[in-house]
Symmetry: C2
Subunit: 144 residues, 2 copies
């Protein structure tokens, strides 16, 4: 079963209706390799049909996040990205200067996650963690 199908059936099970718009939105999220924005979802769907409004994208994204079916990461500067929950963990290194987003090994978060859970009873959303800073190209005093 594709991830699109499982997301849709989860929605249906929770009593929500499956509309063409929702199908297309979910497919667009699943298609993206795991990082989409509201705008991007609209653009992807619009390559196929005009039958989708941005407001609907927002509403559907909100619905999916609320149902825990997709995760949401705030990369700063209004950049909010979504990914299917089954897509695995992400550690995004977001460059404050050039805006570049680098993927790092999410296992690096494990020790910290465990300690935070132990010390504060806080459950970090390790599925999608943004870390801000400067990439090698933008860092001052770098070796380049």
């Amino acid at each position: 079963m594709t991830s699109t199908e499982s997301l849709l059936s989860a929605l249906r099970q929770d009593g929500f209706r499956i509309t063409p718009q929702r199908e297309m939105i979910v497919a667009a999220i699943a298609d993206s390799d795991g990082h989409t924005t509201a705008d991007d979802v609209l653009a992807r769907v619009r390559t196929k049909t005009q039958a989708l409004n941005l407001a609907t994208v927002y509403r559907t994204l909100e619905l999916l996040v609320g149902e825990g079916l997709i995760s949401r990461a705030d990369l700063g500067e209004g950049r909010i990205v979504y990914a299917t929950a089954g897509h695995g963990q992400h550690l995004h290194l977001v460059c404050r200067r050039c805006g570049r987003v680098i993927e790092a090994d999410p296992d690096l978060l494990e020790p910290m996650r465990v300690q935070i859970a132990l010390q504060h009873g806080f459950q970090p959303d390790v599925s999608h963690v943004p870390i801000f800073g400067l990439c090698s190209d933008c860092a001052p005093g770098g070796s380049d």
Copy 2:
């Protein structure tokens, strides 16, 4: 020398003018225990005088961040907080559900920071790191 004074002299050294507005804004940031928003800065200053416009707050905050004199952290949902750079490191645990922000030991970041630097040449802004998730009160299946 207070941190307010050092920030102002740094500004002056870089060729910027010291205005009453900038003095008040810098003092407000230093006064706050290290976490302020643009709105909060305006409110703090407004308790003393009306001679300050929100646009000026934004411009000054941007200036200070650009000069590296204060750090800026995006806590999501439009919550952007500022802190004086000399205020030490912060690890914010931001609850996605209730919005609570818990302070954690920034040393927890060290191992990850080192690995990220080694593996990607990326320099995380460890002065102010937000981690999103669910606090003990909001986490499902918690022990409460």
